[in-house]
């Protein structure tokens, strides 16, 4: 019998694949109804709010490249580089907690400064 010891990592990687393809329904299929997500700009609570957050971000995302992925049965951590409309390279980390195949808790870590600088440039044009 093969004992998998990285179930959370597998879910996080499947989530990431759907997310990088900007497949909203597939991405949301991995998200628990009561998901809690801490992003640099603040906390997002519940699948409905998270869907809105994804919809906004998918409009900016051009491409994502996975740099590193680690995890075990409960949690996983992914490092990826986002190419977005305003920022050509935005290294970002997601830390995911998984229960019963669904993501219940997310922490996103990335630097908002390049996004804010791009927004100021757009305003100045």
């Amino acid at each position: 019998m093969i004992e998998h010891q990285d179930r959370a990592l597998q879910v996080a990687l499947e989530y990431y694949g759907a997310w990088a393809s900007k497949d909203l329904e597939q991405t949301m299929s991995f998200i628990a109804d009561d998901v809690v997500c801490d992003a640099p700009a603040g906390r997002i609570e519940g699948a409905r709010a998270y869907r809105g957050f994804l919809e906004s971000f998918f409009q900016l995302l051009e491409r994502a490249e996975l740099i590193a992925s680690f995890g075990d049965d409960e949690t996983a951590m992914l490092l990826y580089d986002n190419e977005t409309v305003p920022v050509p390279s935005a290294p970002s980390v997601g830390h995911f907690t998984v229960q019963d195949g669904k993501i219940t808790r997310i922490r996103f870590i990335f630097d908002r400064v390049p996004y804010e600088a791009a927004a100021r440039t757009r305003q100045a044009l």
Copy 2:
């Protein structure tokens, strides 16, 4: 014979322990002479420049709390929350590449916005 498969993680955790204690010499003992570090503000090259970067940061660091750590023989990724003089909670990630027991490559990911906001507040006082 026990086969360790997480040598990079062990080095990263020892580095982190020294770093969280603000032990400059011990922290630097894990850094390769030709280290390359990509931080949000830019690239730091070489152990001498990295030592200067640490000295500056240690003046701000009050406490660090490790949230998650993963790794294998080549790389490791740590998520921790920094309590600093200007910012009470700054979730941060380090991704480390280790060769022959020394850290040769680091990527740091954190949000600079709270640090910049704190700097503006200080200037306004």
